[in-house]
């Protein structure tokens, strides 16, 4: 059976299993959810090993007719880009389940519903990256909103209902624009070889479009992805949603779902509309640079630890977007690696911040103080996660961030130079909360906070291990990413700029 389809089916079957466990057996439900997500992770790793990184075509391909009258297929397949993101998603999900073991309690609905939602979401996370049929992608893209909406609105904290609605409306708006573009594509394909949603065939359609049409269709996709990513100025839904969701939900939201935006920019915007991509590159790079600096400043000014992390992500997504549109191999590979690394470093930050907040009963930075003395392991975990967020060399994010910067510099030096100022701001947005929450004297209310228990240590250890290991040895990922990046750029007709001082020789 197809590996991707198997991976997508497993969580669905798992959710059916959970559905038949009685609601009062909460522990059994959690164990089942953990077992299923672990199984999916193992399947993901096996798929990884079976992937031939030298082959740039889609692999593990399966295509089944779904709605033949419209030419819609259930079609899946992966290249280096989507494989990396699928691997990240299936590795993060069991960690989220284990780290947020008690997150489902105190929600509007039962634990059972919570884990069914998580598992359904996992299926969609795999599907959204694996889909090679544009309509299938769109359906999953929109359908993913539903479990997330219920996870935030049903199990979150604070003003969760409002945050969930804002998230939903914002995303739906983007989705509608994308739908319009997809219909446009479909119509054009009908006049040029037959109606289809197959991405390979659709990627020929730009030859039959006027530049205006291409620009408009491009924008439909791009705005949807820019909301998802999120890119300045379409980011304002994120901090609220991330702060209101349970920590686990927010990890999946920031770590995985937002990546659909940057993934989509590569997979759809560049592939389907190469000329429009070139046209809009200056605007997009500018927006990306603004996101980097703007997100960093807002993170510095944040008073809530969860919102702070959300703002740092806006800055990081700026880097990813900039790397994509720099159109160099370093920029592209750096961005894809960045997506993976950001998943883990943000997961680490958000998971630990979630533990801090649930222990303290508040996520206001000012309510913490001197945790290093009280809860050393938790404090260290937060610190290492923070160092990864500020891209300390030796940790994974440094490799990707530097690749993005150097890859951008060769083509857009001004943008790269401005973006590099982000590394100073990053030092501030990490060290300020570190100082306030972990250092200084232990402030009232924090004296008796318990340190991490065994379950929590087991949950965070693999994240830390990935962050450190990939910092020193990113080759396993880069070997898979590089051929895909090179292939995408080749199709786009871009070659890396030559070293300028030796160009004449």
């Amino acid at each position: 059976m197809n590996a991707l389809t198997t991976m997508m089916l497993l969580p669905i079957l798992g959710s059916l299993l959970i559905a038949v466990i009685p609601s009062d057996q909460v522990l059994r439900i959690k164990q089942a959810a953990l077992a299923v997500t672990l199984l999916v992770a193992v399947t993901g790793v096996l798929t990884w090993f079976n992937f031939d990184s030298a082959d740039t075509a889609f692999q593990f391909v399966q295509s089944v007719e779904w709605i033949p009258s419209f030419g819609i297929n259930y079609a899946v397949g992966v290249d280096g880009l989507s494989l990396v993101l699928i691997l990240m998603s299936v590795l993060l999900t069991p960690i989220v389940v284990l780290a947020g073991w008690n997150e489902s309690e105190g929600g509007r609905w039962s634990a059972k519903v919570f884990y069914i939602l998580i598992l359904v979401l996992e299926t969609m996370m795999i599907g959204v990256f694996a889909a090679t049929d544009v309509f299938l992608f769109y359906v999953i893209f929109e359908a993913m909103l539903i479990p997330v909406y219920f996870l935030i609105g049903g199990y979150g904290s604070g003003d969760r209902a409002a945050a969930a609605v804002k998230f939903l409306l914002y995303s739906l708006f983007g989705g509608l624009l994308m739908l319009a573009s997809i219909i446009g594509l479909y119509v054009i394909s009908g006049a040029n070889g037959g109606h289809t949603f197959d991405i390979a065939k659709l990627s020929e359609m730009h030859n039959y479009m006027s530049s205006t049409t291409q620009n408009l269709l491009f924008l439909g996709f791009f705005i949807a992805f820019a909301i998802k990513a999120p890119l300045w100025p379409l980011h304002t839904w994120l901090p609220g949603a991330a702060a209101s969701g349970t920590p686990g939900t927010s990890v999946l939201l920031l770590g995985v779902l937002d990546k659909v935006g940057t993934f989509g920019m590569i997979r759809f915007c560049l592939t389907l509309f190469p000329d429009a991509s070139r046209t809009f590159t200056p605007v997009i790079i500018t927006l990306a640079v603004i996101s980097i600096i703007y997100g960093a400043f807002l993170a510095i000014g944040a008073t809530d630890i969860k919102r702070l992390i959300a703002y740092t992500s806006i800055s990081h997504f700026g880097f990813i977007t900039m790397g994509i549109f720099a159109m160099t191999t370093q920029g592209h590979s750096g961005s894809t690696l960045y997506m993976f690394n950001h998943g883990f470093s943000t997961a680490a930050l958000f998971i630990v911040a979630g533990w801090m907040a649930s222990r303290r009963g508040s996520s206001k930075i000012a309510d913490f103080g001197g945790l290093q003395r009280v809860t050393p392991v938790m404090a260290w975990s937060f610190f290492i996660a923070g160092m990864s967020s500020l891209a300390l060399p030796g940790l994974s994010s440094f490799v990707s961030e530097f690749l993005v910067l150097v890859g951008t510099f060769t083509r857009y030096p001004v943008a790269a130079v401005i973006a590099t100022f982000g590394i100073v701001l990053a030092a501030l947005y990490i060290l300020i909360p570190v100082q306030k929450a972990l250092h200084g004297p232990t402030t009232p209310g924090n004296e008796n906070l318990p340190d991490l228990n065994i379950r929590e240590k087991v949950a965070i250890a693999p994240v830390m291990a990935v962050i450190i290991a990939l910092g020193f040895y990113p080759a396993p990922l880069l070997n898979v990413i590089n051929p895909t990046s090179a292939h995408i750029l080749e199709v786009q007709g871009f070659t890396d700029p030559l070293p300028s001082d030796s160009a004449g020789k």
Binding site: P282, G301, F398, V399, V406
Partner: protein, 629 residues
């Protein structure tokens, strides 16, 4: 070039130590410090072994390389995790592990009552590993890893007692200011890759021969910014004084002998860039000259013994930077002063720690006095370091500083006279502030607070001080005998080169000794032969007041960068909610056709919205224009 298979262990040993100590937790409290010291000593032993290997080879073959693995490889951007041990890096390896091990030994005793001694040793080992990577990396990117690694270790150690808010702030300040320097290093690497297509030392050296001057000047200036951040050189010097919040052994190792000299390493390592970029080289000289006076002036007014020594470090590194900016004639001399300084300054910092140990952590020199009687070993070892730094023959600093002054004069023309005079003036100031420290602490009448019972420190503390003092006495002679160090480094820096001799060697020596006598005499008159106030006097000259406030470096940074930055942050936070999200809400409401709601919003914000949308659009257009240029 000779390939080696053992360079990695130099770094791996202390790195393993730090990991074991951090992961083992409280279980390792009993033996952690011993393991860390042993590992640091093993690295030193390995360094000596490498030196012996080098000595067996011809000078041109003494560079060892080792490729560990391919680190980052994308397109033409290929960076190996590769190590390079040559005549320059072996100097640093031995300094780092040698002085490092002595300071490990010292700390066993100095930190024995601290509940977190194990963690302290873990950080020390982490520092040794990172610093070794910094000097052993064979490319700018590998160096970068060590560069930020030592920054991290420095941050952790400055904030070792971060329960005190001021110390936590000091550590953050050091990290952030260092990051500004690191940004310079990032730019240098990016420019090198974009223009030369490589980031390894060997590759850049080769490519630099045919590179444009503009490119090399750009890289050089960026490297200088990096060096200024790490080495506390003007204008990125403000963090060093606050870094004294760290335990004193840290000040000795990181903030005197090794890490802060990394900038000098970077510049001398990149000699092939600066040699071909006169503008960048001139800037190096200027930064060095300004900092050597700047630091020395601050040093004259500090009453905190550690801060006085920190100001002195800044000034001495200024000397090194100046020398490094003088080109082939200066590189080896900069390294020589760096090494002799490593001995005498580390020794004096340990001495200061010993004094604090005997004086209940008192750091105010106005509350010292007459301690020579009570701490004879500390007095003598500190005294030898003192004689070395002010440049009394035949102590180490005399040789190295003398050479800097001479080389400065010999730079020729107005530049030579100007630089020579500044180094001489610096020598007067150095003699003054160091004599002041010496007199206030050891020889003037006592001004102790009540309940002080000063005593000599235990053997584990004084033994390293004695070893360093021996170094302060002998190294200058050893390095200059037959131009030993200059010849040793020749394969890295190239031929010393002929230079015009403005002043004969003997005249320079005479001038330098005169400078020492002037500076020391003034200090003796002021502090030994007149009464010293136990409280810092208020009626002092404007210059003293400025020097006490570090020549307003903090006020400047705060009013130019920090406060505007805070205002901007607040403005953006408000703007994000009111303007950016406000626009979204407005659009949402408009779309929903909520008429009443809309009217209310409009009366409040429409004007500001439209104005800000206009500004936003203009910024966007400007940005696009700039980027597409």
């Amino acid at each position: 070039m000779t390939t080696s298979t053992s360079l990695g262990y130099l770094i791996a040993l202390p790195l393993a130590g730090s990991i074991i100590l951090l992961l083992a937790g409280r279980k390792a409290d009993k033996w952690g410090h011993l393991l860390a010291t042993a590992l640091s000593a093993s690295s030193f032993g390995l360094g000596l072994y490498q030196l012996s290997q080098m000595l067996r080879l011809e000078p041109e073959e003494r560079a060892f390389t080792q490729k560990l693995f391919s680190w980052i490889s994308v397109g033409t951007f290929n960076v190996d995790a590769g190590l390079l041990l040559d005549q320059l890096s072996i100097c640093f390896v031995l300094l780092i592990t040698g002085v490092g091990t002595l300071i490990h030994i010292y700390s066993i005793s100095y930190m024995s009552h601290d509940r977190d001694r194990r963690r302290f040793f873990a950080y020390l080992n982490l520092f040794i590993a990172a610093m070794l990577l910094l000097v052993l990396g064979d490319s700018y990117l590998n160096l970068y890893v060590g560069w930020e690694g030592v920054g991290l270790a420095s941050y952790l150690l400055i904030g070792f007692w971060n329960q005190k808010p001021a110390y936590a702030t000091a550590s953050k300040k050091a990290f952030v200011m260092n990051r500004i320097g690191d940004m310079g290093l990032s730019f240098a690497i990016m420019i090198a890759f974009a223009t030369l297509g490589t980031v390894t030392f060997a590759g850049v050296k080769e490519a630099s021969e045919s590179a444009s001057t503009a490119t090399l000047t750009g890289i050089g200036i960026m490297l200088l910014i990096a060096a200024a951040g790490k080495s506390a050189q003007f204008p990125l010097q403000a963090w060093l004084g606050d870094a004294m919040a760290g335990p004193t052994p840290v000040s000795a190792l990181i903030h005197a002998a090794t890490m802060v000299t990394a900038g000098v390493y970077l510049i001398t390592r990149s000699n092939f860039i600066f040699d071909a970029a006169p503008t960048a080289q001139l800037l190096v000289v200027i930064v060095g000259a300004v900092t050597l006076i700047f630091g020395a002036l601050i040093g004259t007014a500090k009453d905190d013994i550690k801060k006085a020594l920190a100001a002195s470090t800044m000034s001495q590194i200024g000397y090194m930077t100046l020398a490094a900016g003088l080109g082939p004639a200066g590189y080896a001399i900069a390294i020589m002063h760096l090494l002799t300084h490593g001995f005498f300054k580390a020794g004096m910092f340990l001495g200061a720690g010993s004094v604090m140990h005997g004086m209940k952590d008192q750091v105010n020199m106005r509350r010292y006095g007459a301690l020579g009687k009570f701490m004879p070993i500390t007095f003598v070892t500190f005294g030898l370091g003192y004689l070395a730094i002010i440049g009394v023959p035949p102590f180490a600093g005399f040789y190295s500083k003398d050479l800097i002054i001479e080389t400065a004069f010999n730079a020729g023309g107005v530049k030579g006279i100007l630089l020579g005079s500044m180094t001489l003036f610096g020598a007067i100031l150095t003699a003054f502030y160091m004599t002041r420290v010496m007199v206030l602490t050891f020889t003037s009448p006592e001004r102790w607070e009540e309940d002080q019972h000063p005593h000599e420190s235990p053997i584990l503390m004084w033994l390293p001080m004695v070893v360093l003092a021996i170094g302060s006495v002998t190294t200058g002679y050893l390095f200059t005998r037959g131009d030993a160090l200059v010849h040793w480094l020749e394969p890295v820096f190239g031929e010393h080169g002929e230079h015009t001799e403005l002043l004969p060697h003997k005249v320079v020596s005479a001038l330098a000794i005169t400078a020492v006598i002037i500076g020391a005499s003034i200090a003796l008159v002021k502090y030994q032969f007149s009464e010293v106030d136990a409280e810092a006097p208020n009626k002092v000259s404007i210059l003293t007041r400025l020097a006490r406030k570090d020549l307003l470096q903090d006020s400047f940074n705060e009013s130019v960068f920090m406060r505007p930055g805070q205002v901007l942050t607040r403005w953006l936070v408000k703007g994000d909610d009111n303007v950016v999200d406000g626009t979204v809400r407005l659009v949402g409401r408009t779309a929903l056709g909520a008429g009443a709601e809309l009217r209310r919003t409009q009366t409040g914000f429409a004007r500001s919205y439209s104005a800000l949308i206009l500004i936003g659009a203009l910024v966007l257009i400007a940005g696009i224009w700039v980027i597409t240029q």
